[in-house]
Each structure stands twice: as structure tokens, then as C-alpha cells.
Symmetry: C2
């Protein structure tokens, strides 16, 4: 089934204890579509960049089978830019600079050829933009998934709660779940958040794995302990792309299949952090992915 | 097979956001033996208390089948006392008061009837005391497990490294693994620590679960997300007691059985935090334990 992803395509400049980059390709929708490309060939993108965005980066996405008809290129404008610096423990970072540029006036236009999408991934952008996308899709997709962050909880909580009523799956991290629910206990937080709209909630805990909640069902997928986390940028989006890409490819939204999707998403995220930016999720082989998923089976499997 | 536990039996006074206690029964060996009592009936204790320690607390242990022949009662002396206060997030605590009392001169005497023990649990005490225990056991047990804490890494690192050469399984938390190895990456830290002696390493991550390392084998058992963590005191010791109690009862130290033991230990710890002190691990039924272990199966199980 076809997957539509709406979100940012951007330049990032990153600094970690292992080194720093110049402007490299970044943005939520970049990581999501690249990650999903290993599962579904019907992979459509709506995003906006400036005319400073290199053609070869667009070709990189196209080379992964991403349909870029919905990628707007704004003449005379500049691409969204973010730079960040990670602390030594890699679990926290500071934003060094943000230039919204084209993202400031992002008007998500959905090409007619995208209207049949069955799976919709609303990457992290303003909740009002996410809602506009939903209004512009004529037939509600089978599954709508939304990612957001604490920034929007701080400045646009009402808009966020408004769009949450319309989505099936929400993905946030543990800190954001606590802010959104006002509850420290993630188990209680999940109940509160699911009452806001999404029937399924994924709470990402970084190196501690991910929790999947749906009604009274609960699944905990560990993260693979790695010798080295080189750069965590994009890991959450890569996870989301693997998750929804797997669901779209199997077209099965049962809880058991969502558990498998969480494992595939976690495997994709474990690759992402091994190199700078999206370097490691470009040109992966199916054999590498299968072997990594088997590492998760071995990691988590036990017989009572 | 019989299990011998050496460690503290103490008074604790606890304060959490949910309330506070007077002096209640505490100490590593108390939690370990109570937890192990649900798995093995050959459950022997070496510890020391003062004559202020109430007979009914000793009977509580005996009522759980714990052999207290090795519990020394020092006339005219006072029992080890610890009081602590938990912060609102329950993940950190302050020690309010410590009175070592009888623990200061603890000389671990092993009764002759204990010499046949096959499983030995060295609860958290001074590494020099842990080593003395090993020297006083005539025939090396089949499995020796040791728990320690950052305190001993600060003041007795050489003694600790000395005793680590002699043990099979070490259990510490993630912060302690980073201190002991000098490495932030838990995967690399595990390699470094296993090279110090213990072939098997358990890294406890509290609400994030536990990691089991042995050679190149790796297992991640999640913690059960709970609506309420009432009091974390003793959870690590309860985990250790469930782990080694399960191993002793099955007398199987294969990696696959250790994985099961981690799940049983995690289940026991999940009970422990539901009430103050050891209240919840007194009088559990086998049915409750079986049902809780099934919650872990449901939590972690997936099919690829």
C-alpha cells in the first residue's frame, strides 16, 4: 500500500564528540522516507525546500524510490536549516542555530496522484500544518500516524490537542509523554494520551527502547545496546519510517503486526545512529536489515 | 540445590512521595532471601543483627523457609540502620542517616551445615567481607554471584577488583557499570568488566529493565511499566534473589536458563516496588508470580 509522508526536508549541521559536519541532508521527512523505502516502493513525499537545495540530494531520495512530485522548490528562498551539538553522553543536545526559511510559510499541497494513499505519516511540524494535510486528503487513509515534539507542546498545545483527535498512532518520547499527560508514570500517561484521540501510542525511550500501547495491550521493544552511538540525529524519524513503512508493506494493522513493525523500526534506528546524519541508512541491503532484526530476536527472546 | 546468602539484615526508615515509615525490616539479605524463598526451600542466611532486632522479624524469615542458623545476634549491640528519602521521580534518593552498628565488625561465620551450598549470593557489603566468605567456604560453590555498589568503588576499588576475580556473576546498575569500567557505552563496559573476572554480568537499569551479558551472548529483559512505583527500596536485591533462587531451584546455569531467571527476578522486583519495604514480597502466592511472569511474556514477546 502507498505511504504518504509530510514533513521537513532540511540541511543539518551536526557536532558530536566524534566530529562535526558541514551542511548535510536532514529533516524528519528525509529520514522517514529513506527508512520506509526499504519496505515500501509506494513512498510519496510532501515537503518544501529552497532553490539552494542540491539536485543530487533530491536524486538521492528518488534513487530510494521516493516519489518527489510533492516536493516544492521555492525559487529565491532558502532551505530549512538546523544545527545542533550533542553532549558527551549523547542523550542531550543543544540547538546551536535554527533558520526556518521556507518552513515558515509551508503550505502542504497534496498532488492528485497522492490522494489514494492508505498510510499517512505526519512528520514533526506545526500541528496546524499537520491538520491542514488531513483536511486536504479527500479520503481518510487507513492509518494516520503523527510525530511531534515538546516544542509544540510549549507553544501550540491547543492546536496539538486538536489534531490529536484525528490520528490513529502518536509517537513521542518519554519526556514528551510526561509533558503531554502531566503524569510521570508512563503507564498512566499512556491512558491519558490515548483518551485524547490516538488509539495507539508509541513512547520512544532512546537507548532504553520503545513502548507500544493500544487499549490494554502493551509491548516493550528493547533498543540494541551498541558499542558506539556516533550520532543520534534522525533516529526517531528513522524508527517511525521503518514502523509505518513495514505496516504499509504488509497492510496489516493488527497489534501483533504493529509489534513486528516496532522491531523493524528499532532495527532501522539502530543503523541510523552508527554514522553521521542519514549516511548509514543510505544503501543498506535487505540482508543487513534481516540480520539486524535477528539480533533483536536474539536480544529479546526467552522461553518460560 | 541449596542457596547461601550473605549480606545485611537491617532496619530501614523510608520516605517517599507517598508517605513515610518507622523502622521496618530491611537489608540486602532480607530482600534476597525472601525473594528466593518462592523458588528454593534450601535457603540459608549469614548475617548479623543486634539484640534490638525483634524476634518476630526473624520468625518472618523463618516462616519463608529461611534457615537462620547463620544469623548472629550481638548482645548489647544495635542493628544496622539506614534511612533514605526518595525524590519525586523515584529514580534518585538521598541517604538521610546511616548507623553501621553491628555491621562495622561483621565477621561472616559459615555454619558447618551450610558448607554444602551450591549457590552463593554475596549481597552488597564490603568487598573484603565478601572475600572472607569465599575463603571460608571449603568447596567452591557451583555458582557465585556478587552484588556491590558505587560506594565500594569509591573507597575500596582494589578490594572489589580482587574479589571480582573469584565470582561467576556480577550484578550492578548502569551507573556503576560506567564507573567500574570507565566507559559510557554499556556494551563496551560489559566487555571490560567481564575481563575482570565474572563471566556473566547483569546490568540493572531500574524502570528500563536489565541486561544480561555472557561472552557474546546478550539478553535484554524489559521492566514492567507500572501505574505506580510506591517504593523502590530493595528492588535490586529482590531481583537478585529471584534470579539466583530460580537458578538454584532449577540447577541449570545455561544462558537460556539465566534468561528465564532474569525474567523471574524482574517479576519479583516488580512486586517489591508496589508497597513499602518488603511488604509486597511477604506472602505472595505462586499464582501471583506465575501471572506476573506471564505479563512479562506478553510484554516482550514478538514473532518475526
Amino acid at each position: 500500500m502507498s505511504l504518504l509522508t509530510v514533513g521537513s526536508v532540511a540541511f543539518d549541521a551536526l557536532e558530536t564528540p566524534f566530529g562535526k559536519t558541514d551542511k548535510i541532508i536532514g529533516g524528519a521527512a528525509t529520514y522517514i522516507t529513506l527508512s520506509a523505502s526499504y519496505f515500501t516502493t509506494k513512498n510519496k513525499l510532501v515537503a518544501v525546500v529552497g532553490d539552494d537545495f542540491p539536485q543530487e540530494m533530491i536524486e538521492l531520495l528518488q534513487g530510494h524510490g521516493v516519489d518527489t512530485e510533492g516536493l516544492q522548490i521555492k525559487k529565491g528562498e532558502k532551505t530549512f536549516f538546523w544545527s545542533g551539538k550533542y553532549h558527551n553522553d549523547m542523550n542531550s543536545r543543544d540547538t546551536v542555530e535554527v533558520q526556518l526559511n521556507v518552513m515558515e510559510g509551508f503550505d502542504p499541497v497534496i498532488p492528485a496522484s497522492y490522494q489514494d494513499c492508505q498510510y499517512l505519516m505526519l512528520g514533526n511540524t506545526a500541528p496546524s500544518i499537520q491538520k491542514t494535510v488531513l483536511e486536504r486528503i479527500e479520503k481518510r487513509p487507513k492509518l494516520v500516524m503523527l510525530d511531534t515534539m515538546n516544542f509544540w507542546m510549549d507553544i501550540a498545545m491547543d492546536d496539538l490537542k486538536d489534531v490529536l483527535k484525528l490520528v490513529d498512532v502518536l509517537t513521542i518520547n518519554d519526556e514528551e509523554a510526561r509533558i503531554l499527560s502531566g503524569d510521570y508514570s508512563l503507564r498512566r500517561a499512556a491512558k491519558t494520551i490515548m483518551a485524547m484521540g490516538p488509539k495507539t501510542l508509541i513512547i520512544k525511550k532512546g537507548e532504553h527502547g520503545a513502548l507500544l500501547f493500544q487499549g490494554n495491550n502493551l509491548f516493550y521493544c528493547p533498543a540494541l545496546p551498541l558499542e558506539e552511538v556516533f550520532d543520534p540525529t534522525g533516529a526517531g524519524d528513522t524508527f517511525a519510517g521503518g514502523f509505518i513503512g513495514y505496516l504499509a508493506s504488509t497492510d496489516d494493522i493488527s497489534f501483533d503486526n504493529m509489534k513486528r513493525a516496532i522491531v523493524y523500526g528499532s532495527a532501522m534506528a539502530s543503523f541510523c545512529v552508527e554514522k553521521f546524519g542519514a549516511d548509514r541508512i543510505v544503501g543498506l541491503t535487505q540482508e543487513e536489515i534481516t540480520a539486524r532484526v535477528q539480533e533483536f530476536v536474539s536480544l529479546a527472546n526467552f522461553q518460560i
